[in-house]
Structure formats: C-alpha cells, structure tokens
C-alpha cells in the first residue's frame, strides 16, 4: 500500500483543531490541488471562499448549528457551485447560455465539479498531516451564508471544509460492506441479500459505538438512517436553488 492510499484509508473527520492558522503557502497548495481535479468539459464550475474574518466564521458556525470547529480551525473553506462566471462569458461573447446554465444537467455538473475539487483539497491537506471536516451544516440556511459571503446569483454554497492540525483523537468510522456498495455489471437489487448485508453492518456499527461510549450507545446504522430521514430537513432547498438560477429546467 502506498502512502497516498494509506492517507485515504486513514481518513476520519476531525472536529478539534490546534490554534494554528494555515500559512498562505499551505492554502495555495490546497487550492491548487483542488483545481487539479477533473472538470466536466473543462467548465470549472465552482468557486472556493476562504474565510478568515472571525466575525464571519462565528456567523457561519452559528448557521451550522453552533459547531465550534467551524470557528476554531486552521482555515475554513466554503465550496460553491458557480455558473456566475459563465453567465458573464455568455454576455461578453453574445452567446445565449442561460438555457444551459439553468438546466438540471448543469446543476449536477457544478455539484460534481465542486465536490471533486473539495476531495482533492481534503486529501492534499491530510497528506500534510492536517485533519479535515466537511460542514454540511451550512446548508441549514444558505440564504444567510450567501449574505455573509456576498455571493451573487448563480453561485450556491454547498458545504464548508474545516482544515487544521488535529487536537485530540478521532477514529475511522466503518463503512458499508463493499458488497453493499460495489456491484458488478448489474445492480443487485435483491432485498433479502441487501438486508442480510445491512444486518451484518448494523452489528459492526453497534459494536463500534458500544466500544467508544463505554456501552452508552449501540446505534444500528439502519436505525440512524431511518431516524435521520424521517426528519423533513432543509426542505427550503429547491426554492433556494431555483431562486439562484440553478436546476430550473
């Protein structure tokens, strides 16, 4: 196993960081790594906002549900889907691009582009001994996030990425058994097989929580998912996304 794969497999979310800001050089390396990711038809449909202003960080932490690690970290990035550049280009080039920009296809492209870039940034940071945590919590209120970061239309914040040197330990969380996630040639939709696989996974997860909480927790994964998904969370999203000019047709 090479060092890169070791870094990848060793990933855990870090939620406590040393009070040590990343240098400009480190930030540059992370952003350049992000930019090196593949991009659909060279479109590069994303923007990264690095947040240094403590007032803005505090506000973002509140939006994300008072997660202290949004405020306290080495650096905080917000990854955005961005077609604002392309709208401008359409105007400069007298080209009718709006139909495309507002399509579900381009919404997907921008999300995929931004996510590939973010994962490159994460791996780059982790390879330098830092820890990372994705912050989906900013999606609690994207209107407010857009205000904090002064985002124009055709730009949507997708998630934050807290980066820094880990303070304290965290552990690798077991993933679904490979057989549940990886199929060959066709999707194996057999319910009994899936259930058997997820039953085994539930046992793994129960033991994981049991061990780490001295017996206080023993959640099953399927139980967590059923509970989480029964909450009607962030149902404003469709309206917000379309209001910003994405996913309209």
């Amino acid at each position: 196993m090479n060092q890169t794969i070791e870094t990848i497999l060793n990933h855990r979310s870090v939620r406590q960081f040393k009070n040590e800001a990343l240098s400009d050089e480190q930030i540059r390396t992370i952003v350049q790594s992000a930019q090196a990711a593949s991009t659909s038809s060279y479109i590069q449909a994303y923007t990264i906002i690095g947040v240094k202003d403590p007032v803005k960080k505090k506000k973002l932490a509140e939006i994300a549900g008072n997660q202290s690690y949004v405020e306290e970290n080495g650096h905080f990035f917000v990854f955005c889907a961005d077609l604002y550049r392309h709208e401008n280009i359409g105007r400069w080039e007298n080209s009718d691009v709006i139909h495309s920009l507002e399509s579900t296809e381009k919404f997907m492209v921008a999300l995929i582009d931004a996510s590939l870039a973010a994962q490159n940034a994460s791996i780059a940071a982790e390879s330098m001994g830092m820890g990372i945590c994705y912050i989906g919590g900013i999606r609690n209120d994207l209107e407010a996030v857009s205000e904090v970061l002064e985002l124009p239309d055709r730009v949507i914040p997708l998630f934050g990425l807290a980066v820094g040197y880990p303070a304290g330990d965290s552990s690798v969380k077991p993933r679904l058994p490979m057989g549940a996630v990886y199929h060959e040639d066709v999707y194996n939709a057999d319910e009994a097989g899936m259930r058997a696989e997820l039953d085994r996974y539930d046992e793994t997860i129960s033991s994981y929580y049991h061990e780490r909480t001295g017996g206080k927790r023993s959640d099953r994964w399927t139980g967590q998912m059923a509970k989480m998904l029964s909450g009607k969370k962030r149902m404003y999203m469709k309206e917000f996304v379309q209001g910003r000019g994405f996913d309209k047709r």
Copy 2:
C-alpha cells in the same frame, strides 16, 4: 511537496489505455479508497457498478458518443447516486423517509457523496501509476444506461470512470488562475477584474492549444465555454431525475 500532492497536481485525463485488466485486488483497493471518503451524516448515498461484460461496455461506449476508452481500459466504473437502500430501510423500520429522499437537499447530498468517493478512487488509482478519465458522456442517455446496468428507482448513474495503465502521453491542462477561483471572505464579483483575469487565462489556453496542435487550434477558454453552453445539451435531465424519485420537492 509530498508524493500525494505530486500525484494530485500531475493529474491529466487519460484516453488511451493498455490492454491490461485490473486485478480484483486493485479493484478492491480502489473501491475501499472510494468508501473512505467523507459522507454526509454517514448516509453513504451512492453505489459503484464495475462493468466487465464487454457487451455492456460496448453499449456504454456508444451511449457516451462512441468513446473507445469506455470500452478499452483496465476497468470501468459507473458511479451512481443511490437512495434505494434508504427507501428499503424506511420500509423495514416503519419510518416515513420518502419526503426526505425526494428532496433537493438529498439529491445534492447523494451527488456530493458519490463525487467525493469517485475522486478518492481516482487519486488511489493514479497513486498506483494508473490513469483515469471521467466519462460524463454517459449522461447523454441515462435511461439507456439504467437499462444496461439494471438500476432500480432511486438510483441515478452520474458518470463513468475509466481506469487503466496509460498508453501514450497526455498533458496537464492549465486551470483557471487561482485568483478567479479562490476568494477570501467575500465573493469578488467585480466584472472588470474577472474579465482581466479571464483574458490572461485565454492567452494561456490559446498558447496551450497552439503548441499542442502545431498551430491548428488556438481556442480561448471563454470562447469554448460560450460555444459549449449555447448548445442546449441533455435538457431531458430534470424529467429523468424526477422520474427516478430525486429532486422532486
């Protein structure tokens, strides 16, 4: 610069592969790397289909616009957004999850999850000396792809990933200047500044094409984007996505 960052910055799309199939061990390492990526609230909302059947590969290559490297590679993965598992879990646990599953929020979560996983897979493969190419072309006809891979509802193929040992050379394509993609604290929406930055980038890209084609091509990036986006491509996407149970509310 460490080896991982070197691998990341050295990325180029590879479109010609040696006739050498990946071993099961290599496939396992790549899938495990994919699975190690962060996942929103532990949801793991994706599935990866490895396609070995030459008839299926041929069909996918046709769908993608007769791209030979979809057929000829070391291995071909299709990354899918997947909430089918979670629909089943809802039923097993007597939990009303449908509202959540059909939300734009969860559509975004599934796309982001799948993309983070795919980028880990890519970096893992590249760290082992392989090359990769994302195949957005499968989105030309997702109905047909779903048929080939026998995908149930609540599963959407997003893109392919061709992996294998490179045959022949390809070069790193210059990305947008960092200043165009990375902003600090607020989005810099100043049009004149953006235009100046993109003018400089256009010169870089023109030289890039000029050098590589012996003067035959000298496209500007903005010109490419204007042209590409004026085409109303894959406008069936919204209907398809909603038909499969995503992004409905």
